[in-house]
Symmetry: C2
Subunit: 195 residues, 2 copies
Amino acid sequence: MRVSDKHDKIIQAAIKVFAQKGFFSARISDIAKEAKVADGTIYLYFNNKYDILISIFEEEIGKIIVEVKNLTDKEDDPRKMLEIFAIQHMKMIRDKRNLAEVLQMELRQSNKFMKEYRNTKFIEYVDIVSRIIHKGQERGIFRKEVMPGVAKRAMFGALDETARLWILSPDNQYTIEEAASQISEIFLYGIEAKA
Amino acid sequence: MRVSDKHDKIIQAAIKVFAQKGFFSARISDIAKEAKVADGTIYLYFNNKYDILISIFEEEIGKIIVEVKNLTDKEDDPRKMLEIFAIQHMKMIRDKRNLAEVLQMELRQSNKFMKEYRNTKFIEYVDIVSRIIHKGQERGIFRKEVMPGVAKRAMFGALDETARLWILSPDNQYTIEEAASQISEIFLYGIEAKA
DNA sequence: AAAAAGAATGAACAATCATTCATAATTATA
DNA sequence: TATAATTATGAATGATTGTTCATTCTTTTT
């Protein structure tokens, strides 16, 4: 087994365990068990428990950013781009539910216990929305009065919260795609310049 | 000093400490120190650490619900009601920042470690939005195609995420009131029936 | 095949804290 | 004022668990 395989096995196990129990309640021994590895082995690949979490942020968000950027960049119309972002974000959450839970839960309180760590990857991700909105405003498609800083957060928050509750009770009235297109529609009507 | 005073002193201290450190990193001794009380005294008023957190949820959210309900109920127009909710929510976060942090951070991961606890108070709060949207749809002010379940979450999520980042860096371009009215405007344009 | 290097193991360690409880201080009652 | 009842204290306890490291297993090199 290649070294990198074990690194990844631990990461994948940690995503699962963190998602189930949360960072603090998760035990190193839980992760080790899930990864089918001895407790001590984890410390051959990571410095400590935090380091595992940070690695999840860095590596896994990195992959998502690339994916979503590629897809939105294929479009030129900011309206379409916004819709694609919404749908991709939601699909990602559906397909990588454990990862999504870790990101959503721990991201929010990460600044509590990792004072020094700034999650630049995450900022980069949200800024995809920011740039789409900016582009739309430059072209006169979106209203100028809308503050881009507010709109991007609002858009992301709307998607994220909807996704969060969808995770908690997936036996829902609507599919994740329906939710995504509803939200992007609301935002498009909400921010586009009147004809 | 009346008994209830000490109960409240501990709650207020806990809000402060939980906001600063997060639930897990907060020590009972930190709370005791902040409340100017012995460690053991806390256990005369609360069963355990979780119990303090749950009490914060129950008691403090309860107060907020009453406030916001009273204010929105003074209005009859769903459009106005939505705006009032947005502004009140944001103002609350500005004025009770510590409380807001605790609610936002811990609420999200509370289901990870408190399996049995369902935060009915919180659901009640978000349902204020839900009912406003429903009302608007009944009157034909808001589009029927908008799914109320999605819209309420999207609205709440937008407010909450914007507030969250505002808390993290309050040296912002915009005031919390500006953000609130922007978001309610986006949503109103987004969901209202075309003339 | 023997020796060296590299990986993996998991029991043991040490530090951390939530919680308890014997004792003390305060307040109420007789 | 004496006694009982209530409230508060904080040192000690005990359970938990992240991390270490002596040892074993595996692979590579000579």
